[in-house]
Amino acid sequence: MKKTLLPVLVILLLAWLVLRPGLREGSLSSNPQRSTTRLVMGSLATITTWNVPDALERRAVAEAFAAMEEVDRQLSRHRPDSEVSRINQAPRNEAQALPPTLLEVLQAGLALSEATSGRFHLGLEPLIRLWGFSAETPPTQPPPAETVAAWKQAWPGLDGLRLVREGETTRIILANDRVGLDLGGIGQGYGADRAAAVLREAGVVNALIDVSGDVRVLGSKGEFPWRVGIQNPRQPGGTVAVVGLRGDTALVTSGDYEQFYLYNSRRYHHILDPLTGEPAQSQLASVSILAPQAMLADALSTAFFVVGAQAGQELLRRFPGVEALWVTTNGVIGATGGFPQP
């Protein structure tokens, strides 16, 4: 009897280590994680919650998806009945009414346009159409150089899109037909923020909203942070870093690998630089921005990508609490000092 005491203790210790509650937290019968996926905003969006009662989870998630649908109804340039389409179809150089949602997004976008001297711009819809990136069928070769040059010649820059106060209301003026609204660089992030706000108002403390890779989180995953990988721009399915996110924050990546084609050995991607009228040539393959809101992260990731790593870091100094990780076209990874270490 005495001789078997030690092995019994060893086995009991190992059994305790394996079966203690912390390790059993995720057992099938008590998994606190729920995920719901829907097609929304022209993307696949998933809302994952942690430790939320079933009835509350169902209601809150449905409301969050409805909020994203509403954002899409106003901001999508693909929907003929959206506010953006209405403004794009309206005569140029005439003030058009703005609903509050669109005004909020435009004000944020215009501030960033000014900060980047117009390199980030919400009025590039005609240029995107010219390059074919808005078409159902992906382009295979660049447009003729003379059409791009003609666009550049008539591009009014920062003056292309103006907000004007008329009494209590604010209206928008598009300068000419080379300007049209495309909120692709900011809209999904705004949608993710709206979903997060709806979840929080409903009482959901821990959630992750993933709108086609634009990630917005609330709280944490129990005692652990939400773990978000950053896509390797040159290796589909691979990652360059993993970030643990807690609290009210967002991680958004822009890169040259989601929509692109190769023509004469050059990569033509969908992030266009209004300075040249062509895909941005900043020697960056991707930029990931960590920011308090997804809309800001979304817009800054595009702006940083367009202006390049050096000017991008200078740009971020205007936005306290915002950090970046970037990958160059040579595969070199850089990051700002406060970006979480992988």
Binding site: K3, T4, L5, L6, P7, V10, I11, L14, A15, V18, L23, E25, G26, S27, L28, N31, Q33, R34, S35, T37, R38, L39, V40, G42, S43, L44, T46, T48, A135, E136, T137, P138, L208, D210, S212, G213, D214, V215, K221, W226, R227, V228, G229, I230, Q231, T239, V242, V243, L251, V252, T253, G255, E258, S288
Partner: protein, 135 residues
């Protein structure tokens, strides 16, 4: 010190005890390893225009055809995995994604209005390296 511990161990155990401890340790290691492997899912949800139109077990071979927005979309189940094949989609993202089989994995043809999702979410202890991928 090591010698003292070894001597204590020898005095406190019989050969049978040692085999018992060894077997238990190996068993527990195997159990933890199994926990850490991503578990394959057992059913796939097929969604069209955000409505669940079918749920198929992954252990039964089956091919299902859907009328997507852009034309036919085919769902093929075999050997515990499933894939989506679209034919008219401009970028064929769903077809390029290939087979999926683990809980929570998804594949979609957004322009077709169709997506597949393996039922369930990764369990604690499974290899679910990320809750999302920023891209």
């Amino acid at each position: 010190m090591r010698g003292v511990l070894f001597s204590l161990w020898q005095r406190a155990t019989t050969p049978m005890d040692r085999w018992l401890v060894l077997g238990s340790v190996l068993g527990i290691i195997a159990w933890i390893s199994a926990m850490l492997q991503a578990q394959p899912g057992s059913r796939v949800g097929i969604f069209q225009e955000n409505r669940l139109v079918a749920t198929l077990p992954l252990d039964q071979e089956r091919t299902l055809s859907l009328a997507g927005r852009l034309g036919e979309v085919r769902v093929q189940v075999e050997k515990g995995r499933v894939r989506l094949q679209e034919y008219q989609s401009p970028r064929l993202i769903g077809t390029r994604t290939g087979w999926i089989q683990r809980r929570g994995e998804m594949t979609a043809c957004v322009p077709c209005g169709v997506f597949l999702r393996i039922e369930g979410v990764p369990q604690a202890g499974e290899v679910a390296p990320f809750d999302a991928i920023s891209r």
